[in-house]
Assembly symmetry: C2
Homo-oligomer: 147 residues x 2
DNA sequence: TCTGATAATTTAGTACAGTAAACTAAAACA
DNA sequence: TGTTTTAGTTTACTGTACTAAATTATCAGA
């Protein structure tokens, strides 16, 4: 049992490293930062947001959001559309264009998950869900303790 | 089945985000970059490395490695020890001092994995191992296709 | 209609990680 | 012993993301 939980820590670490490096590579490839990608995810889930709303979501200044959206636009991931209700505003809209890198990853992961039956998938889902909760909690704690 | 693999993609995405954000928080908390942490992991596994060897491992210039080691030292994670065989050299040595953040995470993850029996742990290990392989392969492809 | 507030962008500046080159000390070799 | 090479650090510079403040256009309210 002890041996198995130690192994779990090892591959958890390897998974972390692999995830971080993958995302760095994606960022470098697309010319966007991790924060850019997270902002894009917010827009994708929520729908178009004004630059100001995005600034609130990200905690960045309006100027920094301008830069962020520039990068997302340049990468073909988002556009600025005028807001019909307020001409001062732009609505940052996800293009929905999924870069090959994500479709490739999804396809590869589909072949991985296709190996498992329902029970196994439930176990995996449980593990991942709990892991995500742990990570979020630990992240929260870190953010709350100032250096 | 299709529903389940789509859910797998969703929590895979959430896991990715949680991992990246956790590591960013760790980095900010400790004052080290992701690259610093990876270099530290190399030293931890391999044993002390000279600055030059570390530069080769990381692909950075000697000057950048000096900065990296400065940061690791400042965070209490590594030290510079003289190399008895060549006085021009320093051996970058991991202190082995595990920051609370990692022990806390390990403890939290241990409670997660303690929920599963041997069969379930084997399933999880299989999933994680394959996921890591997929991520590494995709990362390699990205690095190989220049922007 | 005018004034104050708001939205996004631009401008000027900062912080940081990294590179290239210079520097200093030590090692290797003739 | 003198010269060349090597190791790590420092210095000067670059690129990038970000902040603060200024700018320009639009909106809301008196």
């Amino acid at each position: 049992m002890e041996e198995d939980t130690r192994q779990a820590a090892d591959y958890g670490r390897e998974l972390s490293t692999a995830v971080v490096m993958f995302h760095e590579a994606v960022g470098a490839h697309l010319g966007v930062t991790a924060g850019d990608q997270r902002a894009l995810a917010v827009i994708g889930r929520h729908g178009p947001l004004s630059a100001g709303a995005l600034a609130e979501h990200t905690g960045l200044t309006p100027g920094a959001v301008t830069g962020m959206v520039d990068r997302l636009e340049r990468a073909g991931l988002a556009t600025r559309d005028p807001d019909p209700q307020d001409r001062r505003r732009v609505l940052i809209t996800a293009t929905g264009h999924l870069p090959d890198v994500f479709t490739d990853l999804a396809a590869a992961m589909a072949t991985v998950t296709a190996r498992y039956d329902q029970t196994q998938l439930a176990t995996i889902a449980d593990y991942v869900t709990r892991t995500v909760e742990v990570l979020r909690e630990q992240t929260r704690r870190l953010r709350d303790t100032r250096r």
